[in-house]
């Protein structure tokens, strides 16, 4: 550090006095950010801290383009193994070309820099629909972000429909694991390689814990939103409006009933009745931005709709999985057959040689490995990567469904309690 300050002095002496570059004074930087200056340092990421502003921007962007998935950039800083995401911006979905996209990002970052927003990109985000985000393009993009070892970048995956239904924000941070990166360099994903390196479907991406960190002013804003100071008066005023509460819910129940006319399950009828149990937009009547969707007992439109979609996706993926397994077995059998023929050929050669020697003739020359290879060609093993991604997606989906069953069960018992019956 002392070396850099000494060097900067002669440099500024060369520069014009009026220039904007001032002498680099490292003492002006607060202690906790000192490690950022050290460009050679590589620290493993342990935590991702996200600012609510970035989260809200991601959520808004994903919600507006639902159900198409969207992506965008994350901006922030990495300090001592903690990646702080302070801002995010959306990337247009139909860029003209690769160049346009990079130009857009560069321009955006430059504009944001003028208002003192962190201008270093720390990753990107993507929204997903059902939760099966393990696709090849995602891995490729993340690989391009993680190229240099001290370029710490994560991909944040946000699931819009899950956040809305469960009333719980669905945001996950991932990085490519070292294992996958090593294998990807060679580009060979054979069974042997996978077994050697230990790459399984759970290993491809490693997940990082996320924390939501708010600044002091944001805390004030949040508590403002929860408990506005003139809440009582506003509340009384809103209550005096003629039964807007009931009419809204009655309309919703009518809509629910007409929408489930093609659904023959009787359980849906129950749910449509219970959908009127709690207001779906409480903020006009409650003073806090509490998300009551977690308590929403209706699983008719949103709930079972998404559940049946997930189950359909799962069954399709299972078909693909079986198909992949069959392909591989077919190849394996072919390889085994070829090997068998090769063995037999070698044996026959050996026995015929022995016979010739017995007769006193010259034995035929042994065929070398290479010539044998030329005679008995086997196809190279098909890449297992697709099957691996498939399995990973399947795992994600099934895990999601299993996890959603717990709250569903609880909500059912809650409905029972509310009925006051046995």
């Amino acid at each position: 550090m002392a070396g850099t300050t000494k060097q900067s002095k002669p440099m500024t002496a060369l520069l014009n006095e009026q220039s904007e570059l001032s002498a680099f004074d490292s003492s002006a930087i607060p202690k906790q950010l000192r490690s950022v200056l050290d460009v050679e340092k590589v620290s493993a990421l342990t935590l991702v801290k996200v600012d609510p502003l970035a989260i809200l921007k991601i959520v808004k962007h994903a919600r507006e383009s639902y159900p198409t998935s969207v992506n965008g950039q994350l901006l922030g800083l990495e300090v001592d193994g903690v990646l702080e995401v302070t801002n995010a911006f959306a990337v247009p979905t139909q860029p003209g070309s690769e160049e346009d996209m990079t130009n857009y990002q560069i321009e955006m970052i430059q504009c944001l820099r003028e208002v003192n927003v962190d201008s270093s990109s720390v990753g990107w985000y993507q929204s997903t629909r059902l939760g099966d985000f393990m696709q090849q393009p995602l891995l490729d993009v993340q690989a391009s972000y993680q190229i240099s070892p001290n370029n710490s970048s994560v991909v944040l995956i946000h699931d819009t429909s899950k956040s809305e239904q469960a009333g719980n924000l669905s945001l996950r941070a991932f990085r490519l694991s070292q294992v996958y990166q090593d294998l990807a360099k060679n580009g060979k994903f054979t069974t042997k390689e996978l077994a050697d390196k230990g790459l399984t479907y759970g290993n491809i991406l490693e997940e990082l814990p996320i924390q939501v960190e708010t600044s002091a002013l944001s805390k004030v804003l949040l508590s403002e939103l929860q408990w506005p100071t003139n809440a009582e008066q506003e509340l009384l005023e809103s209550l005096q409006r003629p039964s807007s509460f009931n009419s809204k819910l009655r309309a919703k129940r009518m809509a629910d009933r007409s929408a489930i006319s093609d659904d023959t399950e009787s359980s849906d009828a129950l749910d449509s009745n219970l959908s009127g149990l709690l207001p779906t937009r409480p903020t006009a009547y409650l003073s806090r931005p509490m998300c009551t969707n977690a308590l929403d007992l209706s699983q008719s439109l949103n709930g079972s709709g998404s559940l049946s979609r997930q189950l359909e996706a799962i069954s399709e993926l299972i078909d693909d999985h079986i198909h992949d397994a069959n392909q591989w077995m077919y190849w394996k059998r072919g390889e085994a057959k070829e090997n068998n023929r090769r063995q037999q050929f070698v044996q026959r050669k050996a026995t015929s040689n022995a016979a010739r020697v017995a007769r006193g003739e010259q034995p035929e020359p042994e065929l070398s490995e290479k010539e044998l290879d030329r005679m008995f060609k086997t196809l190279p093993e098909p890449s297992r990567l697709d099957a691996l991604l498939n399995t990973a997606n399947l795992n994600l989906l099934t895990k999601g469904v299993t996890q959603s069953r717990g709250p569903a069960l609880t909500k059912m018992f809650m409905a029972q309690a509310l009925q006051g019956s046995e």
Binding site: L53, I55, L56, H61, R63, N87, F89, A90, V91, E107, C111, N116, E164, A166, G167, N168, L169, T191, Y201, P209, V212, E213, T214, S215, L217, K219, L221, L222, E224, L225, L236, N246, S266, S267, L270, N273, L277, T283, P289, M290, N293, L295, T391, N395, T398, K399, V401, T402, Q403, S404, R405, G406, P407, A408, L409, M412, M414, Q416, L418, Q419
Partner: protein, 301 residues
Amino acid sequence: MSMLNLNLPTLASSLVKSGATTTATTTAQQCYVHPVVLFSILDHYLRRNENQERVIGTLMGVRSDDGRVVEIRSCFAVPHFETSDQVEVYVEHHQSMLALHKKASAREEIVGWYSTGSKLSKYAALIQDFYSREAAPFGAVHLLMDTDMTDGQLGVKCMQGSAIGAGAHPENCLFLPLPHELQYPDAELSALQTAADSVETEEGASVLVSDMEQLEKSIEELRAMLERVTTYVQDVCTGKSKANTVIGKYLMDMLAVVPKVDTKQFSTLFQSHLQDILMVAYLTNLTRAQLNIADRLQRIV
């Protein structure tokens, strides 16, 4: 006798009757604000340069067809420079950010501008005029966020400009208040809830919890609410606290919403639903177990 010519916003589009340039403005009656905008303004304010007191920026959003309802969906910051006798807004920055923003979300257009501080700056009228021209043919909405926290709260005020005075000079502008309402789409609600948990903790950090834990928290909240309501009702019944007919009617309405389903029908529905849930859970667990086994077998082979 001197006369003041006040042009108040009317329902129909109003034209300034004077020789100067006229802008037909349709005035807004109600405005909805998304939470992203508020957090964005705060962030910009936190990152301002050392000598700046206030920050300004552009508000983007959508309008209803007649311009009466304005929905402010997002915003971006515009650097500006203010001294006691002049103000300078970096228009090129504004234009380039606008172009970039349009590429990402084509539906949004300029609806107004924001600034921070407890009262309007001297140059608010000028800036309002600039933005009115940008947002033409509709008027520009001005959002003022009180970061100085007078009254001990971060007040948010929306207002509209309307011309005042004998001649239509851009400096003559009266800012009339506009009723505003915060709008929370469901997905943002869940994000805000997670962020709101961080208000309680010391370091201001909260962790993302699983769905089950979130449900547990919500149920606790509901129980607390029910407790509050029951104690209030009991107090009113025993005469300890005064009865308020409005609240009473509201509570009655609310309880009437709970549907009463025939017990036998309910228990059959309950059982069938329970079986569905258990079946789905069992099958998905089975699938996961099979994937695991298949994976390990592969590796042995």
